[in-house]
Structure formats: C-alpha cells, structure tokens
C-alpha cells in the first residue's frame, strides 16, 4: 500500500478517487516547497492537513486548483489532469471551490453580488435564479439578513461564512479550505466550523488545512501530517491522537495540543 492510500477503510478504498497527487514537486526559487507529495483523496472524504508553518500545506492545496503551478509530478482532479491546457484548468476550477484564510471577499460588491458574480458570469445563470440560490446558501450558513450589506460591514466570522457560500454557489464537488479560521477572533471560530461540519456531513469532498484539533478529531476521515514539503504520516484521527508513529508528528502534536 502506498503512503497515499494509508489508513483507508475498505469501504473508503472502494470509492472513486477525487484528487490524486503523485510525486508533486514545487520550488519557489531555490526553496523547495513540495518535495514529491503523494496523496489520494476519495469521494466524500474529509482530509485534514496538519503541519508547522512553511511545511507546504497551503502550497499543496493551492496547486490543486492551480493558484500555484507545480513543476513535477502529476495532479489529477476527478479524472482531469492538471496541465497547461486551458480547458482542463477551467474544468478543474469549476469543480473545486476554495476558502481562504483572509476571506478575499470582493469589498466593492454586496454580499449577494459576491455570491452571484461567478454563477452569472461563468455559469451564465439567470440573475433571478442565481440570487435565489444565493439566498438559499446564505440561509444555510445562517446569515440571510446580511444579503445587501457590504463585506466591510460584517464581522470576520460572517465574512468567512459568506466566502463559503460564495464557493458553494458554483456547486463544486470538492472544497479546499486554507486555514479558514486562523484570522478569526476566538468567539467566531465555532460559527465557521459549524458550517464546515455541516458541509462534511452533507458528503462534500474536502481538504482542510487547519490548526483546529477539535475539528480534525471530530470531522476528519484521515489526517495528513506534513513537514518540509513532504508527507510524514497519514492516519485516522484515532491513530493520530492516541499513538502517532513518527517522532516528528509526536513533537508537533505535543506542541499544539
């Protein structure tokens, strides 16, 4: 069994591969950010990526929707390989939603316009339809009353929930979360995590980079520990929090828990 498929239950192993990374390498100048990453994410799986800062967690998920371009290895998303082909990139991006640490909402547009922008311009939806869908999503993340406000008028937690709704509006099969709660005040973290738990229960395939151990323990199917651009250990939450194999994983967990 390759490292990518470690700790998969039989049921999970029989599912379709949604994301496959094989030997993915990435350099920023002289600095090697990814040193040959192998990971497989199955359909409806929630994978949490842990690791110290600079370990390549963010770079990895940014490669998956090509915000960064990997230099070696291959990335296959739902059967489509990430290459220089514009059509493949568009196809992958339309299936993969992303939520950022800094929310990255569009400050010049209202909450509703933030959510409907891509459905109207990329998917060519009718405005009425896109707005109805957006209101539905805002209900789901619990802030329908903020629809006509601007991002600057919302709290951090509300902004991040809008960002999640904005990604969901494109009806992605996969959601990538890049430290979604790291820029939030402590009392707002749970409202965002609740939305993410809800998504996970709904069967969304997710890769989550986070330091929220409670969330990882509760929601993750598998955890991945990365260091220096390499996958050190893959396992179930139970394995990770009771008896991790690798010394480095133990050290990291002892510092963070």
């Amino acid at each position: 069994m390759s490292i990518a498929d470690q700790a998969l239950t039989e049921e999970m192993a029989s599912r379709r591969d949604m994301i496959v990374c094989r030997g993915v390498k990435k350099w920023f100048g002289d600095f090697q950010a990814l040193a040959g990453v192998d990971i497989t994410v199955k359909d409806r799986e929630v994978m949490v990526v842990l690791g110290p800062s600079g370990s390549g967690k963010s770079t990895l998920i940014r490669c998956i929707n090509r915000l960064e371009v990997h230099q070696e290895g291959e990335i296959v998303v739902d059967g489509v390989e990430m290459t220089n082909d514009m059509r493949n990139i568009e196809k992958i991006r339309s299936e993969v939603g992303m939520v950022f640490q800094q929310f990255n909402l569009f400050p010049h547009l209202t909450v509703l316009d933030n959510i409907t922008l891509a459905p109207i311009w990329v998917r060519k939806r009718a405005r009425v339809e896109a707005e109805a869908k957006a209101m539905e999503l805002l209900e789901r993340v619990g802030i329908p009353e903020q629809a006509n406000k601007f991002p600057g008028q919302l709290s951090g937690g509300q902004q991040q929930r809008v960002a999640i709704a904005r990604s969901l509006a494109m009806e992605p099969k996969i959601m990538l979360f890049d430290e979604p709660t790291s820029a939030l005040d402590p009392e707002m973290i749970s409202e965002v995590l609740d939305v993410m738990k809800d998504l996970a229960r709904g069967g969304m395939t997710m890769i989550v980079v986070t330091h929220e151990m409670g969330f990882a323990r509760e929601v993750a199917d598998r955890l991945v520990f990365m260091e220096s651009g390499d996958v050190v250990e893959v396992g179930t939450p139970e394995h990770f929090f009771t008896n991790p194999t690798e010394e480095r994983t133990k050290l990291f967990l002892s510092q963070i828990l």
Binding site: S94, M98, N104, H108, L117, V122, V128, E129, Q153
Partner: protein, 517 residues
C-alpha cells in the same frame, strides 16, 4: 427670528437645557466660519487696495477698461485670428481666443493621455514579456525627460518635415504632415443632421423597450438573449434608413415654430409665478429628502442644531430667490421667456425647408495664401505649434498616468484575483469585474492631479508660440503694462478649470467609495 426657531425646534426634540451661546459648539462652529471668511476677504481687500494705490502712484493704475480696446495682436490660431468689420478683435476677445485654445488642448489632451496611460499601465503588468518591456521603456523614457524639452523636440521634428508647396485650394491627398502642421479631413455636421438625430431618437424608443424586456428575460431565465447585440443591430439599421430618409422629419420645423410662438407669448407675471413656485417647491422637496435621510427604522432621528440651520438656510435661500424674481430682477423672467423662444426659433430653423440631406459630411483642409484656413468650412488641421505642445504634453502625462494605473492595480491585494480565479473567472473577467473597480478607487485622486497638471502645463505653449491664454496675455500686458489685471484673469481662469476638474473627480470618488460599517 432665526435663533428662536432653532430654540423651539431643538427644545422640542431634545428636551435638554440649552447651553449659553458662547459655549454652544454648533453656534460657535458657524460663527468661526463666518469670522474666518470675513478675515480672509479683509486680507485680500487690503492687499488689493495696497497694490492699487502703489501702482497708481507709479502712473499705471489697475483697470479693466482696456478689455474693450482693439487688440492689434497677431494670433497664431484660434476661433478668431483677424479683426474684421463684423467681429472686432478686442483685447477681451483675444484673451477669450487664448482661453479656448487652452481648453481645446487640455480637454483633448486629458482624453488621449488617459487612453494611452491606461493601456500602457495595464501592459506593464502583462504576462507578455515584449508588451511589458516596450511599455516600461515608454514610461522610463518619457517621464524622465522634462516636458519642456519634449515639446521643443516635437517642434524641431515637425518643423523639419516636408514642405507643402500648394498655395491655395484643398490639400492634395487625405493626410498631410508638413511644416504647416498635420492636416486631416474634418467630419462635420451637415444640413440633415438634426432631422437624422431626431429620427434615430424616435425610432430607438421602441427598440429601448425591447432591450429592457430582453434584459429582464435574461435575468429571469438565464442564458444570453443578446440584448446589447440586438440593440446595436437595430441602431445600425435605423441609422442607415435615417441617413437617406431623414428629410421626412422636416415637419418638426413648424412644430418647433409653434412652440417658439407659444413660449414667447407667456406673460412675464406667469413666468415669475412659475419660477417662484419652483424655488419654494425645490426647498420643500429638499427638506423632505433631508428629513428622510435622517430617518432611522425607529422613526425620525434627533435633529442637531446643524440640521436645523441647514433647513432654515434652504427656506431662506428659496425666499431670497423669490424676492429676486419678483422685486429685484423682474427682467430675468422676461429674459427667460425671450431667450427660450429664441432657442426654439433656432431649432425650428434647423428643420427649415430644404435642409435635410446628408447628416454628416467630410471636408479636406483648404489652403489660402499658403496658410491653412483654421476655422470655417475646411478640414481639420493641427498647426505644428499645437501638435508639438499636444504630443509633448500627452506623451509626458500619459507616462505618469500609466504608473498611476499600474500602482492602482498593484494596490488591489493578490487575494482578490486569486479568489476570482478560484471561482473560475477568466483573467479578463477578473480584471473587469474585480480588480479594476477596486483599482479605480486608488487611481482616481492621483489621476485628477494629472488632469490638473496637463491643464496647467498648457501654459508651456508660450515656449513654442502656441496662442494659449498665457501667451496671449503676455502679449497684452507687454502692450499696455496691465500685468496685475492680466494675471488676475489668468488666476480666475485656471482656478475655474481646476475647480471644475476636481469637482468631477470628487464626484466620481464618492461614487467609488467602498462601504464599511
């Protein structure tokens, strides 16, 4: 009376005891403003009086009487260059010609340098290596050479161009670049233009309704109903038909003639009444909207003294306007009646018999005694003086605008384009929908500065002998020694230009402001 009203009003709403006047901040705020205004005016008055006495002692009293004297100035170009029986070239007329020349070069310069600047600025951020390098070289070269040097260089280049030997008549060929300047055929509004425009406007009304319903359908059902394409197509078809069929609109001539006589027969008293009602109604409407803006979901917000001052001033202003209309200047109403009637007469004339043919026509520049005829029925010419000033200013300013645009785009956080890309927007969609709207917020204030700069830098035309306001003014005060009077005219003129530009820029800025809390 004023303060009593304020008392009652505020007391009625707040119920607090009022502080004495010398401690009341809102009274003090207004008082300070009035005192500062009076002080500033007093200082100016003092300086002006001093200058006047001192100059009178030297035998050159400041006056503006010379404005009506004949100019006897050689003007290079402009709306009027020679003194004729019908149109005297007085000093004031000569200065006006200079102002128009300044405005001509400033307004076209602003437009052209903005277009070049935005293009080059975006090109500097392009992923295309060649576009990036070429635009970098453009910016680095042009902004590092003084603008005066560039203007004189352009004069030297244009002056060394081929000689145009024809002496009179239209130019040979369509575009001529010569030592006399750059000449293009001029497109002008011909006889049928008004018929053409009215016909197109009327025919576009139903098209507009169709466009609206198409857009609604797109919003409702999605997909693309091609609303804009259909509108443009209909416009082209209508324009082609109207190009040939426009004489049928001649019936509008008598219609406007009827309006002319009807408007002219409005009695002065009625016009005064209507205008007074409009002034009072405007004040009432303004107060109503003002109160609406102070309304919160819980009801009318507590009004502060400042709000009461504003509403009282609105009423006072309206009453003053009525007083002026009825008592102070009754002639204004009859002037509106007469000039309105004249305006409709002019429009009626445009639709007169026998007009209506081709709406737009082109003409080649005409030479007369070896010189281009600048105005009148002739082509478009840029004299070498105009062209060298124009190119110098436009290229110089556009290099700065390019940097401003580049800076504005870079000021938008990278996360914004990443979020747009992650949502699947293409690069150009991300630029149009996400990055540029935010960049313009940053770009607008310094862009306004560049517009002010290009307007003021037109005064460098003096170096190449372009007849803009400063050059004309200098000739004037060399003749009559009225330096101070001429400079006061400069100042008022440039101030008016600058204030107009900055008020436009400020309005746009307010529109672009991002809402926070």
């Amino acid at each position: 009376m004023t303060s009593q009203t304020v008392d009652q009003g505020t007391a009625g709403f707040s119920g607090h005891t009022r502080p004495p006047i010398w401690r009341n901040t809102s009274v003090l705020k207004w008082l300070v403003q009035i005192v500062v205004l009076v002080a500033v005016l007093a200082v100016f008055w003092f300086l002006a009086a001093q200058a006047r006495t001192n100059l009178s002692a030297k035998g050159i009293p400041v006056s503006y009487d010379w404005l009506d004297e004949p100019a006897n100035i050689q003007l290079g170009e402009g709306i009027q260059t020679v003194d004729t029986e019908e149109r005297r070239l007085t000093m004031s007329r000569a200065l006006w010609v200079g102002m128009v020349n300044t405005l001509r070069i400033a307004s076209i310069g602003i437009i052209v340098s903005t277009i070049i600047g935005i293009t080059v600025g975006i090109a500097r951020l392009s992923k295309n290596w060649l576009a990036r390098k070429v635009s970098s070289i453009y910016v680095e070269t042009l902004r590092n050479v003084p603008v005066l040097v560039q203007i004189i260089l352009w004069l030297a280049i244009l002056g060394s161009l081929g000689k145009l030997t024809a002496d009179s008549g239209p130019i040979p060929g369509w575009v001529i670049v010569s030592q006399k300047g750059i000449s293009l055929p001029r497109v002008f509004l011909a006889d049928g233009f008004y018929q053409f425009v009215s016909m197109v406007l009327i025919a576009m009304i139903p098209v507009w309704f169709v466009r609206r319903s198409l857009k609604r359908r797109q919003d409702r059902e999605g997909g693309n109903t091609h609303a804009t394409g259909i509108t443009l197509g209909a416009f082209v078809v209508i324009a082609v038909i109207a190009w040939f069929a426009n004489p049928v609109m001649a019936f509008l001539g008598p219609v406007f003639g009827g309006v002319e006589s009807a408007w002219g027969s409005i009695p002065q008293g009625l016009m005064q009444l209507v205008l007074s009602v409009a002034a009072l109604g405007g004040a009432v409407l303004w107060i109503k909207r003002f109160l609406d803006s102070r309304r919160t979901p819980a009801g009318l917000a507590k009004l502060i003294d400042d709000d009461w001052f504003r509403m009282i001033f609105a009423v006072v202003a309206a009453l003053l306007a009525v007083l002026v209309l009825v008592r102070g200047w009754p002639g204004l109403s009859s002037w509106i009646v007469n000039s309105g009637s004249d305006l409709f007469g002019v429009i009626s004339d445009k639709f007169g018999d026998g007009r209506g043919s081709r709406p737009i026509d082109a003409m080649k520049p005409t030479l007369s005694e070896g010189r281009f005829v600048n105005y009148g029925p002739t082509g478009l010419t840029m004299t070498v003086f105009y062209a060298s000033l124009f190119f110098g200013l436009v290229f110089y300013t556009s290099s700065f605008i390019a940097e401003i645009v580049r800076g504005g785009i870079l000021a938008v956080p990278a996360g914004q384009s990443e979020a747009a890309a992650a949502l699947g927007l293409s690069r150009s969609q991300a630029l149009r929908k996400v990055v540029l709207p935010q960049a313009f917020r940053v770009i607008m204030p310094p862009l306004g500065n560049q517009y002010l700069n290009i307007t003021k830098n037109t005064s460098l035309g003096i170096a190449v002998g372009f007849s803009e306001i400063v050059q004309v003014g200098q000739t004037v005060y060399n003749k009559n020694s009225q330096t101070l009077a001429v400079f006061s005219i400069y100042m008022v003129f440039y101030l008016a230009c600058s204030l107009s530009i900055s008020s436009v820029v400020n309005t746009i800025n307010r529109r672009l402001a991002i809402v926070e809390r």
